[in-house]
């Protein structure tokens, strides 16, 4: 059973898979170039305080995204 949620809502350290990327075409293609593609494994490493950006790990690299941008990416968690 898998359920999907927004990357911004993904609990820390939970392994998930990218499902869809929304937003401006430029933003989407940049996410693809950075390795955030459908089916790529992803997890949240830490969050900055007061609704600040989150740090994620994807394809062996670490990236930071704002919560609002992370909200444009949906992920699936396999339960």
């Amino acid at each position: 059973m898998a359920h999907s949620l927004r990357l911004s809502d993904l609990p820390d350290a939970t392994r998930a898979e990218v499902r869809e990327i929304h937003g401006h075409p430029m933003f989407r293609s940049r996410m693809l170039a950075l390795g955030i593609t459908p089916r790529s494994p992803i997890r949240v490493l830490r969050r900055m305080p007061m609704g600040g950006p989150i740090e994620i790990e994807v394809r062996g690299t670490r990236l930071a995204l704002r919560l609002s941008d992370a909200g444009r990416i949906t992920v699936t968690v396999r339960a």
């Binding site: 075409p25 430029m26 933003f27 989407r28 293609s29 940049r30 996410m31 693809l32 170039a33 950075l34 390795g35 593609t37 459908p38 089916r39 790529s40 830490r46 900055m48 305080p49 007061m50 609704g51 600040g52 950006p53 740090e55 394809r59 062996g60 690299t61 670490r62 990236l63 930071a64 995204l65 704002r66 941008d69």
Partner: protein, 694 residues
């Protein structure tokens, strides 16, 4: 022979470039942009001399920032013989994405597997030969910081440049069969019949299918180019639609609006997916991973440096140390330069007097030219140490962490997290701070930061403010006045940012997309060369303006000949300015002249005031003279205006350079002046209303 060096950011590309070229480098500005680039020569023991071009780091060929656009335009349109793609061997999965994109563009390419030492520490064993076979291009392992593999890399690049048996699509990414058959192949077939096509047909077809505008525009002017464009559009529109029994795509009903954009997006995903699948296949064949039970030092450091509480303390300490080095520890150096120039000026004047030179010539040298040179050179220690600190923070990987920590708070004032360092460093000196805004990819965010940075009082302004507040507001009142002034500058900064965001630059801060690279020790050579380039670029642009400006000031105070200073042209100008604006603030002609001349260099304000109020030398007597001439309210109003108006000529010149247009620099300076006098007016009225003597 010209060889372009490309790669993702943070892969040691510049370190590799420096190791290859040494000091045989030249820095220049990319025409029509504010992007600097470096070219270097590789000494040729045998064969043709090599010219290397260090292209700005990029994650993909599709440009996201101005720097990336420069890289794209170079690779697509500038003549070059081969490309070296630098990848981080310990981060191959993401790094190979750009490499694949470039291999599709040109087979005259060499892959530099850099940071092999880091990969080995991670327990990775990379078979360069196996990787090379799958990619169809030479793969050379390197450790740029230790100079390993450089000779082999250059040799491979030479061979690649001479490659004539260009293999058709060396590393053909195995895109899905239906994409190749139904989309790429028909368009490529039509393109390869086109005379004047500059790029491989397969690659060009992919760009058209992904809606790359510049490629489409370049094609539209070729004979028959439009038919290829139309074909790409039609195929995309029909892509994924049910096929007819005979296998041809259905003709679209005229009324039906084909969803080209939607199909483009979908295709983009499919292509990216195929590339990553291919990368996975390459890695499976060429990389062995031995498990190592070692905790990544970067992860351990980030546990502290990105800690929700401690992280901010560390950041404060790191920045404080950096700025102390740049603006306090470097001050004696500025002092030495100053004294040296004064001594040289004195010696020259004595020599001229001995040689019987006219008085005006001596005065020109002593009060015009030497101070001008001094104003230029006084920036050098600041700039050098500042950029060294900046490069170390950037190169080590810490700057990305700091941007991450403060992004949330920077958003409160409408600015981007990456601008934080620039903003804080502006308290030291606005000029390098303007350059430090380059870490932001989005030109609007950068322009905005450039426009508001001059509202932050720099070292020189803070110094003058401290002297004057101490004179007018002794004791605790002085501290209060200083805090009030700085708080006011922050308030103004926030308001002006909001103003720009709602008028000329209507946009949200660009998405924060930040890679957090591994921490590593910066290479001293990379830092030293970067500092040299930045200081040199600054000096070569500013010296002309500053020397003429100081000569103009000298002439205004010196002429008409033989008149005391309150009858000079400067006094005339000052009186005119007082009539124009100064009288509304209680400023006399001397204060107006000090404001005007302070535009050249803020450091000179105190000495200008000293001369104008006839106080002789020394701050104590100046304070005495000023407190007799001005009321505290006028002095405070003066400080408000002084703090907020155009910082100095150097900032304006630098702003022109960073924004790419005089019009932006003029607008920024105009807003500075308007806001400064507006705020001064308000402060004065409020002061009078509160019962202070005007």
């Amino acid at each position: 022979m010209r060889i372009a060096v490309a790669g993702n950011p943070n892969v040691g590309k510049t370190t590799l470039f420096n190791a290859l070229t040494g000091r045989r480098q030249e820095v220049a500005n990319w025409p029509g942009t504010t992007v600097d680039y470096v070219t270097g020569r590789v000494p040729a023991l045998a064969g043709e001399p090599l010219e290397l071009i260090d292209l700005p780091g990029t994650y993909a060929l599709e440009a996201y920032s101005q720097e990336e656009r420069v890289t794209r335009n170079f690779l697509l349109h500038e003549p070059h013989d081969a490309v070296i793609v630098v990848v981080d061997a310990s981060r191959l999965e993401r790094n190979l994405y750009l490499a694949l994109e470039l291999i599709e563009l040109t087979p005259r390419l060499v892959l530099a597997l850099n940071m092999m030492d880091a990969a080995e520490r991670d327990g990775l064993r990379i078979d360069a030969k196996a990787m090379s076979e799958l990619l169809g291009v030479p793969v050379v392992p390197t450790v740029a910081s230790r100079g390993t593999g450089l000779r082999e890399l250059i040799a491979a690049a030479r061979v690649a440049a001479h490659r004539r048996d260009l293999p058709v699509a060396a590393a053909a990414v195995p895109y899905p069969e239906e994409v190749r058959r139904d989309l790429i192949a028909p368009i490529a077939a039509r393109l390869s019949a086109l005379p004047g096509l500059r790029h491989p047909p397969g690659w060009t077809a992919l760009q058209l299918l992904q809606g790359e505008r510049d490629i489409a525009a370049a094609l539209a002017v070729l004979p028959q180019g439009k038919s290829a464009l139309a074909l790409a559009r039609d195929l995309l529109a029909g892509w994924g639609e049910p096929r007819r029994a005979d296998g041809t795509a259905p003709a679209l009903a005229l009324a039906e609006q084909p969803d080209v954009a939607g199909h483009q997006e979908e295709l983009g995903l499919v292509l990216a997916d195929s590339r990553y699948d291919f990368i996975a296949k390459i890695l499976k064949a060429s990389v062995r991973r031995r498990l190592r039970w070692r905790r990544d030092p970067t992860e351990r450091l980030d546990g502290l440096l990105l800690h929700p509480f401690l992280g901010y303390l560390f950041m404060g300490a790191i920045f404080a140390l950096g700025f102390w080095l740049a603006f306090v520890a470097s001050a004696p150096l500025s002092g030495h330069i100053d004294r040296l120039l004064v001594a040289m000026g004195g010696a020259t004047a004595r020599w001229l007097a001995g040689a019987g030179a006219p008085a005006f010539l001596r005065s020109l040298l002593l009060s015009g030219i030497f101070p001008g040179v001094g104003a230029v050179l006084s920036f050098v220690p600041y700039m050098a140490v500042f950029f060294a600190v900046y490069e170390v923070l950037q190169d080590s990987g810490y700057m990305a962490r700091a941007s991450l920590l403060v992004d949330r708070f920077m958003q409160l004032i409408g600015l981007h997290g990456k601008g934080f360092f620039a903003l804080v460093s502006a308290y030291g000196c606005n000029v390098p701070a303007l350059t430090a805004t380059r870490v932001m990819e989005n030109p609007r965010d950068r322009l905005l930061a450039n426009l508001v940075i001059p509202f932050i009082p720099c070292n020189a302004r803070l110094g003058v403010m401290a002297v004057m507040t101490a004179a007018f507001f002794p004791g605790a009142a002085g501290a209060l006045a200083m805090i009030g002034l700085i708080a006011l500058s922050l308030l103004v900064l926030t308001l002006v940012t909001a103003l720009y965001r709602h008028t000329l630059l209507p946009s949200e801060p660009a998405p924060l997309v930040l890679e957090l690279p591994r921490y590593h020790w910066p290479s001293w050579r990379t830092v030293a060369l970067a500092v040299w380039h930045r200081v040199w670029l600054f000096l070569s642009r500013i010296w002309w303006f500053l020397i003429w400006a100081t000569i103009a000031i000298w002439a205004l105070t010196y002429f008409p000949l033989g008149q005391p200073i309150d009858h000079s042209y400067a006094a005339l100008l000052g009186r005119w300015l007082t009539g124009l604006a100064g009288r509304h603030f209680g400023f006399d002609w001397r204060l107006m002249i000090a404001i005007l001349f302070g535009f050249v260099a803020k450091e000179t304000t105190l000495s200008t005031l000293g001369v104008l109020y006839g106080s002789g030398s020394g701050y104590v007597s100046l304070a005495h003279a000023l407190t007799h001439a001005l009321t505290p309210l006028v002095a405070f109003t003066y400080l408000v205006v002084y703090m907020l108006y155009v910082p100095c000529l150097s900032t304006v010149v630098q702003m022109r350079r960073e924004s790419g247009a005089w019009s932006w620099a003029a607008l920024g300076a105009g807003v500075n002046v308007a806001v400064a006098f507006g705020a001064g007016f308000l402060v004065e009225r409020i002061g009078i209303w509160l019962g202070f003597a005007p």
